[in-house]
């Protein structure tokens, strides 16, 4: 090999001294939005209805404000649009607008009555591909409800918008002779007010941390769907990822593209769910049917069964974490396949399962006082927090997956086109969630959820800067901004900054499954630009033979 092509390493060793590299420090301030009360205070007997009312109570003022701004004085054929307080107060033939919660009745939605017939099952049913029945689109009914009752929505306009159960909207229209509400236009709550960067930290003690960090741009790394199964074949990309994160491999510093790719700039790794590959849920579900057959053969054993339990996936994950933790702080979110509770918000993977990594955890909670977040933070899913001053809101992907099931999608054939379309749609769903101000709109309808009583934490109170969803089929990113024309009259440009808020900008990221794509997403802490690093092996001729 020519000496000028040695890339620094394809040459005999020199006596060069290697400077130790130091990682850019991380500023981290998680929020406990989704932490459930511990132990005996956590009850599951409440009614889910409260969640919808809380959500409506929170979001109705916001959407009504927007709707009022848009529709005040709206006039069709001499009739002014009138605001109606409750959906049941809508009168036939009157042009009016009303706000409420969307409920979608779909033929293939999981039905509680179906579940009751097999009341005794112990694990989650396998997820359905879609709730829409493509052969019978008219079976889908869209309704709007509030505390007074329900109103059937209809009209050609609805077919041009995507809605999901749980979204709060305002609809303009009139009730027709069938008693259905003919929709002309809808309004969404739109992006919530966005905090400034460092807003929470400025009040905190973190003043010096902020200065240190903001000078040098760092990166936040996102990865999801590590899919560790314990088989040897899936870990080679993981080894390369480990090597990269620890700085053993990487990009040399003399290239124009490399400085930003330097692993020492990565301040934090966020693992967005599904770190383990074996699908516990579906296995258990299928085992459930088998178990009925087995039951007669052998007396059933409860609890830990050494022969059925395979610890190697979680051990591998623990090894991986323990290896990178000395160098990089990690935020670990559970996903649908991880050992955590099924219903959202999933609580963090218990550190007892990660005996090596737990040394980096925060000390066990003692008393009421708020403690420092751990170097290794096993957090909830969804999760919200401040990383490098930016508000980050993310979920392991269940929210997007479930809303997608409400949309008509030719998902059966997996050609390249539909795949592209689907990942496009996923980004649009994420955008829609922000505009609905609800991160998990379909909980508790079609996503299992904790029955919240006093608060609906899925409502986005403040607009995040980074909004991510894990375990998506491919990497996608987009920047979303406050929709100024929607909110304000065109002529009134001074109003664009709004009362006390600046235009919100949100970076949407759909994080691919690492196991399938080998991709790690890096987000710049200054520009919020996203980049991808792909890890893999080159399948050459040897392998093809």
């Amino acid at each position: 090999m020519a000496p000028d092509e040695d890339f620094g390493f394809l040459r005999p060793p020199s006596n060069e001294e290697y400077e130790p590299a130091y990682r850019t420090p991380s500023s981290y301030n998680p929020l406990d939005t989704f932490r459930l009360p511990m132990g005996g205070v956590r009850h599951y007997q409440q009614q889910y209805g409260d969640m919808y009312f809380l959500r409506l109570a929170k979001l109705k003022p916001a959407v009504e404000q927007i709707a009022a701004a848009a529709w005040d004085g709206f006039n069709i054929a001499g009739e002014n649009a009138r605001r109606v307080d409750r959906v049941l107060d809508v009168r036939q033939g009157e042009l009016c607008w009303v706000a409420g919660t969307i409920y979608m009745d779909m033929p293939l939605k999981p039905n509680i009555l179906d579940d009751l017939t097999k009341e005794n099952f112990t694990s989650a049913p396998p997820p359905r591909r879609a709730y829409v029945d493509p052969s019978n689109p008219s079976a889908t009914q869209i309704m709007m409800e509030d505390e007074s009752g329900r109103l059937c929505l209809t009209g050609a306009f609805l077919s041009s918008v995507h809605l999901a159960t749980g979204a709060i909207i305002a609809a303009l229209g009139t009730e027709n002779s069938n008693g259905e509400f003919e929709v002309i236009d809808i309004k969404l709550p739109d992006l919530p007010p966005q905090p400034k960067r460092w807003e929470r930290d400025e009040t905190d003690k973190n003043q010096n941390g902020k200065d240190a960090v903001s000078k040098e741009g760092g990166k936040i790394a996102f990865v999801s769907g590590l899919g560790i199964t314990g088989a040897s074949s899936d870990t080679l990309a993981l080894e390369l990822l480990t090597d990269y994160l620890l700085g053993y491999t990487g990009f040399s510093g003399n290239d124009e593209n490399s400085p930003s790719m330097n692993a020492s700039k990565i301040t934090r790794l966020i693992i967005a769910g599904n770190s383990l590959g074996a699908s516990v849920t579906t296995d258990a579900a299928s085992a459930g049917s088998d178990a009925a057959a087995k039951k007669k053969l052998a007396p059933k054993k409860y609890g830990y069964d050494a022969s059925a339990y395979n610890a190697s996936p979680i051990t591998k994950l623990d090894n991986f974490l323990a290896e990178i933790l000395p160098s990089i702080p990690v935020t670990l979110m559970p996903g649908e396949k991880d050992p955590a509770n099924v219903s959202l918000p999933q609580q963090g993977i218990h550190r007892a399962m990660l005996p090596q990594s737990r040394a980096y955890c925060a000390p066990p909670p003692s008393g009421e006082d708020k403690q420092e977040p751990g170097w290794f933070d096993s957090v909830t899913n969804p999760w919200e927090g401040d990383v490098e001053g930016w508000r980050v809101w993310g979920c392991s992907g269940q929210n997007v997956d479930d809303v997608l099931r409400y949309l008509e999608f030719p998902g059966e054939d997996s050609s390249l086109d539909t795949e592209r379309e689907e990942s496009e749609a996923r980004l649009q769903i994420m955008d829609a969630m922000l505009r609905w101000r609800c991160g998990v709109p379909t909980a508790p309808d079609t996503i299992w959820s904790y029955p919240f009583q006093d608060d609906d934490p899925f409502v986005l109170e403040s607009c995040p800067h980074i909004f991510f969803a894990g375990n998506q089929p491919s990497f996608k990113t987009a920047m979303v901004e406050t929709d100024i024309p929607l909110r304000f009259d065109e002529g009134n440009t001074e109003m664009t900054n709004g009362p006390g808020t600046t235009a919100a900008r949100v970076r949407l990221i759909s994080i691919p499954k690492f196991k399938e794509t080998g991709e790690l997403v890096l987000v710049d802490t200054e520009t919020l630009e996203a980049e991808v690093i792909r890890f893999g092996t080159f399948a050459g001729q040897e392998e093809k033979k």
Partner: protein, 432 residues
């Protein structure tokens, strides 16, 4: 040279695969130097005798996009369609195609020596190439390398990454926080039986092992002295500088070529011994973690109190297990009973008080009117768990109230009570 000796022993004699990280760990050299050492070794050996050593390479850089024009055209079409079908998307939704086209996807690709040129051809620009591993034969399956990585991880599990990281070329972090709290030693009673059940847990990299022994303070020093001594002795004789008996094994075996033949036999043994210790730790850890759920008991210093409560809990657990066992055996019965039992009784309820009386004799007190019976009741508690309780309930068996009689019998998912009940039914049939 020490490194050449080592590589020659490992690769040529032992037929092993050596990655740059394995070399770096074994010789305590920086990862970048290890890469160069591997390259030197690879080129020199192949100069002596072609094809004697094979290598794998890691290429990092920007890959060429796969068939760009076709997909782009498609993509644009798709985009249009999507936008049309979903006009709710506000205009501010950026057209993602523009950024995604310019989006840099950097790649880190592992390739065989044989494929190196092909792999390089897929790159638009290459940032670095380095040797990942050397091995005596061409690898058919690159996944073999993960086993090598795992071996390295196991062999050097003792090294504290916080201490040695600098030498290996790991990116250092000044803010790393690690708990050093010593955990209370496991109560002997608990550890003995549990080790057995947990021995199936594969023990990996038990670097935590020394923590419970309270050695965390000593450890850094040890590591330091060792790494320095190892560095000093790198060029000269190694075996002399091995202070810590605990680590002796791994250091000796990995760096000392002559010990080589023994390594294979001793590796399982070595990993077996730590695994025993690890299990204890694991076990202890899980117990302690369970305690941490209750904030008050998290104080690890109050070891004695903890131990006491542990014993108590253990007893409770044992009691629970026994309960469970009883239930386990009876579960099939319980399933069938409700079906079988009520029907015969239900058919002749008013006319057959005599049979019901017999049940009383089996159960205990023989009184007409009321009696107290211990019943096992399974109820859902507030948290949704099924709880089986033994309760003393007053039961009346007067002739005019047959219905409440049956109900308890049906509800009871217990063995001792139900069995005689079954006997009753048989006798009932017999009498008929």
């Amino acid at each position: 040279m020490d490194s050449k000796m080592y590589l020659a022993e490992q690769v040529l004699n032992e037929q092993r695969t050596i990655t740059y990280r394995a070399l770096g760990r074994a010789l305590k050299v920086h990862a970048n130097r290890a890469k160069q050492l591997l390259f030197e070794f690879h080129s020199k050996e192949n100069a002596k005798k072609p094809q004697s050593v094979h290598a794998t390479y890691v290429i990092s850089g920007i890959q060429k996009p796969p068939e760009p024009p076709a997909t782009n055209g498609h993509a644009k079409d798709d985009e249009d369609e999507v936008m049309q079908s979903s006009p709710y998307l506000p205009s501010s939704m950026p057209n993602q195609d523009a950024p995604s086209d310019s989006l840099r996807i950097a790649s880190i690709i592992l390739a065989r020596e044989e494929d190196l040129e092909d792999a390089k051809a897929t790159f638009q620009s290459i940032s670095t190439i380095h040797v990942y591993s050397v091995q005596p034969t061409a690898l058919q399956d690159l996944n073999v390398l993960t086993d090598v990585c795992r071996e390295v991880a196991t062999a050097y599990a003792q090294d504290d990454p916080l201490e040695g990281g600098k030498d290996w070329g790991m990116i250092q972090n000044r803010n790393v926080k690690r708990r050093t709290g010593a955990r209370p030693p496991p109560p002997p009673t608990a550890s003995a039986p549990k080790t057995k059940t947990e021995s199936t847990v594969p023990a990996k990299r038990p670097f935590e092992k020394s923590a419970p022994a309270g050695k965390t303070e000593n450890k850094p020093e040890e590591t330091k002295s060792q790494s320095s001594s190892a560095a000093n002795s790198q060029t000269s004789s190694k075996p002399a500088a091995k202070p810590a008996p605990k680590r002796e094994k791994s250091n000796l075996f990995s760096s000392f070529a002559k010990a080589k033949p023994k390594q294979k036999t001793s590796t399982p043994a070595e990993s077996a011994t730590p695994s025993g210790a690890e299990d204890v730790v694991l076990d202890d850890a899980s117990e302690e973690e369970a305690e941490e759920l209750f904030p008050n008991s998290a104080d690890t210093a109050a070891a004695a109190a903890t131990r006491e409560s542990k014993k108590e809990r253990e007893e409770k657990l044992k009691a629970m297990m026994e309960d469970d066992d009883a239930d386990d055996e009876e579960m099939p019965d319980a399933d069938e009973e409700p079906v079988r039992e009520p029907t015969p009784i239900e058919q002749p309820p008013p006319s057959k008080p005599a049979e019901l009386k017999e049940e009383v004799t089996v159960q205990g007190g023989r009184r007409r009117g009321k009696r107290q019976v211990m019943k096992k009741r399974t109820v859902k508690d507030e948290e949704g768990y099924l709880v089986t309780r033994e309760e003393a309930t007053w039961e009346s068996f007067s002739e005019d109230e047959p219905a409440p009689k049956k109900k308890p019998a049906v509800n009871v998912a217990k063995g001792k009570g139900a069995k005689p009940g079954q006997g009753n039914i048989m006798s009932f049939f017999g009498k008929k």
